[in-house]
């Protein structure tokens, strides 16, 4: 089961707001679609799902046209929406039945999911009576209750507290483990790094970077040197002519040209007798790569 997007383009009034998007999402993997606000992530997703008609390129499922050969899709849109006046069970059973589940099956699946996400007691409450976080959980259940083959989650973590975010993270991992193809739209890099093997960074409707996250990172090399010391390292680092230095409460992060420069620095620190608590060479974080590629704050 593979979702393939080939050179997808979508235009408005002659101007392509999304263009030349090519990516592939396989079963059992999560794909991170990243980008700042207005980068074209939602437009891409909507084009894939047939909510918008794209103007060029193809979207395929298992090598055949997606819409003619539609898999069952679990979609968590960025703009959340359910029936505020209906009870949790009414609307979730309705949505599950629209995906071909029998009423009994849907009710059984609903019970399991409500227990799993810890909102079993809200089954017969109207949605509007629930807290925002719990409404968000209901929304997540609406995307997963019918056991879809393709799961598309647009900013799934927004609005969740850390405890619930962890709960959702375990649900997503489970979906990947049972072989779902998961597309993950986000600008929260922490979560994307946690799940996604492959990523695509979009900017102004174009792909800036696309590939395996580990390959992308190793291509950047281990050029982040992290130092921790109780002494003030600033004068020493300045003497060495290093300018790209960030200092937070406990650590210094220094951009180095390569590993040899870092090793040399470590030797010099030892010779100078500076007491070191930590010395670490690291690949850039996804956050840094993102900032570099998108070039603006997210």
């Amino acid at each position: 089961m593979t979702l393939s997007i080939n050179r997808l383009g979508k235009q408005y009034g002659g101007k392509y707001v999304v263009d030349d998007i090519t990516l592939e999402v396989k079963a059992g993997e999560a794909f991170g679609l990243l980008g700042g606000n207005g980068a074209g992530k939602t437009t891409t997703i909507r084009s894939v799902l047939g909510l918008l008609e794209y103007d060029r390129g193809d979207v395929l499922w298992n090598g055949r046209p997606f819409l003619a050969n539609r898999p069952s899709v679990g979609y968590l849109p960025e703009e959340r929406g359910l029936y505020p006046k209906e009870t949790v069970s009414e609307q979730l059973v309705y949505l599950a039945r629209l995906e071909g589940m029998k009423r009994g099956e849907a009710q059984k699946a609903l019970k399991t999911w409500l227990e799993r996400l810890g909102i079993g007691e809200h089954e017969n409450k109207r949605l509007e009576q629930l807290s925002k976080g719990n409404q968000q959980k209901v929304q997540i259940i609406s995307a997963l209750i019918h056991n879809p083959e393709l799961v598309i989650l647009d900013e799934p973590f927004s609005g969740l507290d850390p405890v619930n975010a962890d709960m959702l993270a375990s649900v997503v991992k489970e979906q990947i483990a049972v072989g779902k193809a998961v597309v993950f739209c986000s600008h929260q890099m922490m979560q994307v790094e946690q799940f996604c093997e492959n990523i695509c960074i979009m900017k102004k409707g174009r792909m800036q970077l696309n590939g395996k996250l580990s390959d992308i990172k190793s291509a950047y090399g281990r050029n982040n040197l992290i130092l921790r010391s109780e002494a003030d390292l600033a004068p020493f680092l300045e003497r060495k002519g290093l300018s790209d230095i960030r200092r937070d409460a406990q650590e210094w992060t220094i951009k180095v040209q390569g590993e040899s420069q870092a090793h040399e620095l470590m030797r010099d620190l030892g010779q100078a007798g500076v007491p070191m608590l930590k010395f670490e060479l690291r690949e850039p974080s996804l956050h840094e790569i993102f900032i570099e590629k998108v070039g603006e704050a997210v």
Partner: protein
């Protein structure tokens, strides 16, 4: 087809279980019960024109029951002794009485009887000729008796002319008979269609406003979604209609008011309408509902919030209301040019044709052709509405221009779909404004 059924069930259940449905049904049934039952409780004949007090100072055998049957059935007649005349005059002055009739004649059978009629309103003298004839007949009988004639002589004197009624235009509808039933049906249809089609529009706008639409459209095609909603809400409307009519019939049967219910002398008797009118009424109800509900749904789909629905459906509501007023005109002149011409315009057909068939005698083709035109237009409007709906439900922000709507309908050759609005903003800022 299966998803249509699920959407249909959801819409139907949602409608029937809503508070407005329950309350509206209860309220209308209560109002019908009040109209039928309250006159009964006060012991009066339902809906008569008032009471006439009759003082008989003559020896003629005047009886209240005969007055009802031969003079006028729409008044209640009561015989009053002469001693109470003053009190009755008080009642007449305070308008608690419609009229006082005093009939005088001396014991001499040859004397002419005198009838004094006192009324408040000029309308209430309508029975005077009948009254005069009744008294004259009694007087004649009395005089014949006093002359001591043989039976044959008496019979030859009191013989009545025989009257044979020949209706050349047999089966022609009388205005008095048809006006009220048709008017009632028309008004009922107007409000039911308006209410339920409006409900479809609100429901579409609510789904759009709550953004659940984006999920639904990945599961169900817009045509099925729209059809399921329209049929579901429509069936709920038919159920409500059946409850209201059913309880009305039950109340009339059990209260015994079934035969005598009339308003202002015009009878409300749906049974005189005949099979043809009722069949056309049913067809107009259903086609009219589908026609307007799909139009309303399209209008509901282009607004962003349910609060804006009324504004969006206003132009269509106006046309619908014009149809209602044209139908009222057609009720007075069902075969006039205006009535005939407007019955062919699908927007107006439901109401005007109902009235034409109910109050006039259109030829069969004049009935079938408008129905055919309406049915075909309903189908077309349904398909076009589904297109607007499909484009509209994902379009947020400002209302689409006529140009955008035409593009949704596929009139323009360059396909521009939802979020055309975003592209306008995108051009200004140099980047797309739709959130990614």
């Amino acid at each position: 087809m299966k998803t249509f059924g699920i959407v249909f069930g959801h819409s139907f259940k949602g409608r029937v279980r809503s508070k407005s449905f329950t309350w509206m049904t209860l309220l209308i049934v209560a109002a019908i019960a009040a109209i039928i039952l309250i006159p009964r409780f006060f012991g009066g004949q339902a809906l008569t024109e008032g009471t006439v007090a009759v003082v008989n100072k003559s020896p003629l055998p005047i009886e209240a029951s005969e007055l009802t049957s031969t003079v006028s059935p729409i008044y209640e007649w009561k015989m009053v002794p002469e001693s109470e005349l003053a009190a009755e005059q008080q009642l007449l002055q305070s308008e608690d009485l419609a009229a006082i009739v005093v009939i005088e004649r001396s014991a001499d059978a040859a004397a002419a009887p005198q009838i004094a009629l006192s009324v408040n309103r000029k309308d209430d003298v309508s029975f005077a000729p009948n009254l005069s004839a009744y008294v004259e007949r009694l007087n004649l009988n009395d005089r014949v008796e006093s002359l001591g004639l043989t039976n044959e002589q008496a019979a030859s004197l009191t013989i009545q002319p025989s009257l044979e009624l020949n209706e050349l235009n047999a089966g022609a509808k009388s205005f008095a008979e048809t006006y009220l039933p048709i008017y009632t049906l028309l008004t009922l249809m107007f409000f039911m269609i308006y209410f339920f089609a409006g409900n479809v529009a609100t429901s579409v706008a609510e789904e759009k406003g709550s953004r659940i639409q984006e999920i639904l459209i990945t599961k169900v095609s817009p045509v099925q979604l729209l059809a399921g909603k329209v049929v579901g809400v429509g069936l709920a409307g038919i159920l409500q209609f059946a409850i209201i009519v059913g309880s009305g019939v039950l109340l009339m049967t059990f209260s015994g008011a079934g035969e005598s219910l009339s308003l202002g002398g015009l009878s409300v008797d749906l049974s005189i309408l005949g099979v043809q009118t009722l069949a056309v009424a049913a067809a107009m109800f259903i086609l009219g509902y589908f026609f307007y509900a799909t139009l309303f749904a399209a209008a509901g789909s282009i607004v962003s919030r349910s609060e804006e629905v009324n504004q969006a459906i206003l132009p269509i509501s106006m046309v619908f209301m014009v149809g209602f007023f044209l139908a009222l005109i057609a009720l007075k002149d069902p075969n006039g040019t205006l009535a005939v011409a407007s019955s062919y315009i699908p927007l107006l057909t439901p109401m005007v044709l109902l009235v034409r068939v109910g109050a006039g005698e259109p030829a069969l083709m004049e009935i079938l052709l408008p129905i055919l035109i309406l049915a075909v237009s309903t189908l077309l409007v349904g398909l076009l509405s589904a297109k607007i709906y499909r484009g509209g439900v994902l379009l947020y922000g400002q209302k689409p221009s006529i140009g955008t709507m035409l593009k949704m309908l596929g009139v323009s050759n360059k396909p521009v779909r939802p979020q055309a609005v975003s592209s306008v903003q995108a051009d200004k800022t140099g980047k797309p404004s739709d959130a990614a």
